[in-house]
Subunit: 285 residues, 4 copies
């Protein structure tokens, strides 16, 4: 967080600053990014520690001091980011811009309202920048592939969750009718629905559990159903993942058409599917 | 639920009513569907809240009043649906027809029998209409794909569940023989089978847990088996999902080359990848 | 269990008996199989009920009587099976032969040793015959496909389980070193290994749980590892399932070679891969 | 562990010793490997038993004696391994070399520091040699396939775990803000994050569980998210597994047609499926 001290405003300096703060290609940019990540991890750890009773009792003063140092540092960094981009408003409204702002606000708010410091863990979101540091391009490709697969599965997952939610509401109510007032913890329909979710997702805390024979039977049916049903989203995502991998050229041929140079052909293609030119001109014969 | 007041019977009116109530294409139909969905959610929430001790104590009277309003509204809607379809009996016997009827009966039954109100959550099933509202066709395709994959997996899943059920019965009995009377909760074979289901599905409440060394060893074997076995339904569904996706033309075009009549082209193919002929002969030229 | 009364020994009678008892194609065979399945279910339920304290107290005498009736019936059935097959020893040593024998022994043993009745649930294994009744051939194909996929995954799953077991032993010991004597239940290495299995398989009873900070940290790492690792057997089985499906002609062409009539060709094959004959003789040109 | 007595140093003896100790092809080598594995299992079991209070009280002396016998045996084996390889340092620094050393150190350390014996379970890692004994080549191929798939999934899994970790930190903090001080066990942010991991991975101990309505609602959302999210690593590994299987020639032959040089033939193909030429020109005819 040494960066905060010197800030003379010249255009070439602005550009250099931009390279250091926003890129991770140059040595200086890499050093800055690593220092930033270490600061973020340290500040998140500090916030976590402060929430532990005994640490707060012993080191409360020091932890608040550290928190303010990080906040001032991040504030300076935020100001520099705003300063050195060409379109400050666009950055400020972007995902990382909003996260960067939210990462410093809670400390200032804590001057007015008590207990807002915990909100500082939103800084954890800043850690997602981590992928920029090492071999950014490759990680980007992987992220895009994952995002593609998840986005393609979205509607199917929604249909699936819609059906599952309805089943869970009805199962929860049935359990309430069967187990309500039996001492198993099924004190109301919302509680029973909560139990149904805990059970169908195989989390199974055990704070609520059926005690009657019929209740246990219903629960057993629900578990076996949930066990089979968990296969569905997995199947959806697997298929989309395979398709995404295919589309992004992992499984298709990497060969470009020699005529129109478009890519994405199947490996067994003899002719370009876009322009019809022969793909492998075989030794001119 | 304003719809209930005016009901003059003319054929064109009947048709317009049908469009509003059964379709979601027109603005009026969309408004009706959204209002209906909000009513259903609100009424399900009201039923849930009524089951909570403290809310019933404080707002019991109001909740019952709300329930009656919704019931009268849904009754009117049900009557209108029966009125405006051509074959009322066919609707009445359809899945949604039965659900619509079951959604209003419990309130009337509660006049005779106490405690039937909870059955009103069956209204949640009506929420499945939700997919009609936005981009119905796409969701329908996704639902059909899911249904196809699940239906194709049905027999395999049944074989699998048959084998697993047998294993669970035998495992439960072995645990009863080993752990029975040791204080771990394995008081009878049915209880032990219930434990086996809770364990094999990885729910793991912990209300029943082995205490002897042999029992823990058996449980460990069962868990590792269950852990490997959970892979089977997932594999089944994944494979069927991939196949269903292929069949419904999501992955490859079903179009054959007009020249060599080979198939298996991508959906974005302009030329046949085998002979190079144009795929979509544009405007007969 | 009416079959036990008449048993005159003639060859054609023997053959007819074989058809009834071992096949499910004829009406008589189907009736016999269904009656048998109902008897098996009823007898398993009776054994389960007998293990419940209160039922044994109230209906103990009746349940033992029922048990003897079923045992006598199954003994007669076993004798008839031995009688009407051509090679009785081969049946007796087959899987179902052994199961059939084990299904009747415990009742006789209970005359000498107390507490052996519970072993009668081994009768549940006889339920696997259920698939013979409806559309046997299709279920057989599905079972074979499942068996093929699981058998093909066997070695990979063994390698996987070998590595996971080693990890679990080391994790368990680490937790014992960290948590031993802290009151969380990690009283010995075997107990800690048991905990590691319960955790890695995501069962999570909660009877043993870490209480120290380092222990919780280790547990968290183990859980996230287990969460990622569960993907491996699923992946293995999915791939083998897809391959098995392909091999059994679900995804390959159903076309037989017109020359050598062998099957199993890829859908894009132009020539038979066994004899080299052209696959689609195109309009004799 | 008889091997320790005779060690005359001759080159041919050295070579023979190397064959016995490092290979599993010769009968002597196989016997040695099996004896070694049994010793390792026995010594790990002894260490486990020693950690159980009651066994230590009763057989403590004998167990320590056994431990020393195994340690002396393994030390001799380690010395022989160092002696009979050509490059001792390379072996000493290899994975198994380090494990072999770590497997004997704790016993010697226990002379100086109490409580180090438990570290002996590191011997479990030596069990991974087990795959050498039976059909080593096949298991090696399977292991490589698994390793390939996991290595190929590495980056995607890292991106996935990065995002999930961030979500877990934020979820944990939200639960701390909602449930902190309500008696559900959410006493600090680290504890809440631990709960979030326990819940998202569907382990669900139940030692910490939400008690407020909002907390339960958040938990339910987290569970359903975790339930859908578990599909992602499975999808990743499945796809990579399928790809690895393809690459290592399990599914298609790598042989090209000698006539048209097209590839992608099945392993049982006798003729090229594209041109019909014979695939394996038998005995030069």
């Amino acid at each position: 967080m040494r960066v905060t001290d010197d800030a003379p405003a010249r255009s070439s300096f602005k550009r250099r600053l931009h390279t250091i703060i926003f890129e991770a290609d140059t040595p200086a940019g890499k050093v800055f990014d690593i220092a930033l990540l270490i600061s973020i991890v340290a500040s998140v750890v500090a916030v976590c520690l402060e929430s532990v009773e005994e640490y707060r009792a012993q080191y409360g003063r020091e932890l608040i001091f550290i928190e303010w140092i990080f906040t001032v540092g991040f504030t300076a960094e935020y100001a520099l980011r705003l300063y050195c981009v060409d379109k400050p408003m666009r950055y400020a409204r972007s995902f990382y811009g909003v996260v960067d702002l939210l990462s410093i606000l809670p400390t200032y708010l804590s001057l007015m309202f008590a207990g807002t410091q915990s909100l500082l863990v939103i800084r954890a979101l800043r850690l997602l920048r981590i992928f920029r540091i090492f071999k950014a391009a490759q990680f980007l490709a992987e992220s895009q592939l994952l995002a593609m697969a998840i986005s393609a599965s979205k509607r199917k997952i929604m249909v699936f969750l819609g059906v599952v939610t309805t089943l869970i509401i009805i199962l929860g109510t049935m359990m309430y009718l069967v187990e309500g007032g039996q001492g198993g913890g099924f004190t109301s329909i919302p509680t029973s629905i909560y139990w149904a979710i805990v059970t169908m997702t195989t989390v199974g805390y055990g704070d609520i559990a059926p005690v009657t024979v019929l209740g246990k039977f219903l629960a057993a049916v629900a578990m076996i159903t949930g066990y089979s049903v968990i296969a569905v989203p997995t199947g959806i995502v697997s298929v989309e993942m395979a398709r995404a991998a295919q589309k992004t050229g992992f499984e298709v041929s990497t060969q470009a058409c020699p005529s129109c140079s478009l890519e994405g052909h199947d490996t067994d293609a003899l002719h370009c599917k876009y322009c019809g030119a022969a793909m492998h001109p075989p030794q001119e014969g």
